[in-house]
C-alpha cells in the first residue's frame, strides 16, 4: 500500500485543485472571523463563550473543506476517468482505497491546521486591535485548535466514504454542504437530543465550543471516528464490489 500512497500523494499535489480549495477556505475563514470580531459590539465579545463564537469558524470550515477534499479524491477520479488507469495499474482495489483514506486524512490535517491557525491568529489580532481583552484560557486555546485539526482529519475520510458511495461529484459535494449547513441545523434546532449525535455536531463537540448543547470533546471525537470508520468501510465495500464506471 506504500506505493499506492505515494501515488495518491503525487496525484493530490500535481493539480491546482487542492491549492484552490485551500485558498477558498482561507478566504472564508478570514471573512467570517473578521466580520464577527470587528462588527459585533464590544459588550457581546467580552466573555469567553462569546469569543469562542468568533473562533469557531476555523474548525467549522476546516472540517467542511476537509470533507470536500476527501470526497474529491475519489469522485474527481471517477469524473475525469482516471479511475480506470488507477485500477488497471493496481487491480487490487482495496489497496487504492486504503491509500486514499490515509492520503485524505493527511490532507485533512493540513486543511484543519490552516483553518484553525488562521482563525485563532486573525481573531486574536482583531480583538486585540479593538482593545478587547482575550478571556479564553489556556485550555480553550489548546482544545479548540487540537479539536479542529482532529475534526478535519476525520471529516476527510468521511467525505471519501460518501464520495465512494455516491460516485457523482456534484451530488457528493452538494450532499455534504446540505447536510452540514441545512439538515444538521434543523436537527439541532428541532430534535437537539438526536442532533448532537450527527457528524457535524460531533466535529464541533471535539473543539469544546458549546459544551451545553454538544457532547463532551472526547465523546465527540470517538463518535466522529466511528462515523469515519463506518463510512470508509461502506465506501470501500462498494468500490470493491461494484463495476468500475
Amino acid at each position: 500500500m506504500t506505493a499506492q500512497l505515494r501515488a495518491e500523494l503525487l496525484k493530490q499535489r500535481s493539480t491546482f485543485t487542492n491549492l484552490g480549495l485551500l485558498l477558498a477556505m482561507l478566504g472564508l475563514v478570514l471573512l467570517a472571523v473578521l466580520l464577527h470580531a470587528l462588527s459585533l459590539p464590544a459588550d457581546r465579545l467580552d466573555s469567553a463563550s462569546n469569543q469562542v463564537q468568533v473562533f469557531r469558524f476555523g474548525p467549522l470550515l476546516g472540517a467542511l473543506f476537509a470533507g470536500l477534499v476527501g470526497a474529491l479524491s475519489i469522485t474527481g477520479e471517477i469524473r475525469h476517468g482516471t479511475i480506470r488507469p488507477t485500477f488497471l495499474i493496481t487491480p487490487r482495489r482495496g489497496r487504492v482505497v486504503a491509500a486514499k483514506i490515509v492520503a485524505s486524512g493527511l490532507l485533512g490535517i493540513v486543511f484543519g491546521l490552516v483553518a484553525v491557525g488562521a482563525a485563532v491568529a486573525v481573531g486574536s489580532a482583531a480583538l486585540a486591535a479593538r482593545g478587547i481583552p482575550i478571556t479564553l484560557d489556556g485550555n480553550d486555546y489548546t482544545l479548540m485548535p487540537a479539536g479542529g485539526i482532529a475534526a478535519a482529519a476525520l471529516w476527510a475520510p468521511i467525505g471519501l466514504g460518501i464520495g465512494a458511495l455516491l460516485r457523482n461529484q456534484v451530488a457528493t459535494l452538494l450532499a455534504i454542504f446540505l447536510w452540514l449547513f441545512f439538515i444538521e441545523n434543523l436537527l439541532i434546532d428541532f430534535v437537539p437530543g438526536a442532533g448532537r449525535f450527527a457528524p457535524g455536531a460531533a466535529a464541533a463537540a471535539i473543539t469544546g465550543i458549546d459544551p451545553d448543547r454538544l457532547l463532551a470533546p472526547a465523546l465527540g471525537a470517538l463518535l466522529l471516528a466511528l462515523y469515519a470508520a463506518t463510512l470508509t468501510a461502506a465506501g470501500a465495500i462498494a468500490t470493491l464490489r461494484r463495476d468500475v464506471p
Binding site: L10, T82, R84
Partner: protein, 265 residues
Amino acid sequence: MPIRRDRDAARNVDEQAGPALVAADARARDPVVTASSLTKRYGELVALDELTFSLRAGTVTGFLGPNGAGKTTTLRLLLGLAEPTAGEALVFGRRYRDLDDPARRVGAVLESNDFHPGRSGRDHLRALALAAEISRARVEEVLDLVGLERVAARRVKSYSLGMRQRLGLAGALLGEPELLILDEPANGLDPAGVHWLRGFLRGFAEQGRTVLVASHVLAEVAQTVDQVVIIDRGRLLITGPLTDLTERGQTLEQVYLELTAKGAS
C-alpha cells in the same frame, strides 16, 4: 511524430535467445487471453452472451464488431474493471487482479481521455509508475517512445486527441507488458502517427508479445493484425487468422459486412 523503435524491448528479446527460447515456446502454447462462455447482463440487456475465444502469444488480434456489440465490455471484463455475470475472462490463465504483478504483464488503454485536465502528462505517468513501483527513468523512456517528451510538462488540457492517445499508450507501456489491450488506439492520430502505431504493434508482436486491439477502422486493421475476433450482439461470429478469412480474394471489409449483416437478419 517522432519515430523511434523500443530499443530496450528489442534488446530483451535478444537476451532471451538460446535456452530461454524453449521455455518461451512452451509458454506460447498456453493462451494469453481466454474468454470462456463469457456472459454479462445489465438488467434485461444482454451485453455478452457466452462469448468464447482465446489468443496466443506473438499475435496481433483485431477485435471487431458493430457499435454495441460488446467489445468494450469484453475488454473491461478481461481487465477486472467489471465482473462477468457468468463465465470466465482470464489473462495468462488467471483473473487480471490475481496476477502477481499485473502492471508488468498487461498494459491497457480503454478510453482516449482518462486524464485529469489540470495534471501534466509526466505527472500522470509518474503517479501510475509510483503505484506499480516503476522507475522514473522508465517514465521518461515511454514519453520518448511515444514522442511526448517535449510536451510532458504541459497540462493535459492543452493536448490534442492524438497526444492523449499517445499518453494513454505510454501509460500502458510503463511496465513493459507482455500483453497490450487497446480500444480504438488510432482514433485521432495523424497519418504519421497511425503509421508509427502500426509498426510499433507489429514489432511488439514480433518479440513474442501479444496485442488485442478493438477497432472500427477495417482498412487499418487489415494492415496490422494477423488474427481477428468478430462479435455482434455479444456473440462470437468468427475467429481465426486474417488470411483464412480473405483467402477467396475478399477484403476484410467485405467479409465483415457480410458476417454482421447475417447477424442482423
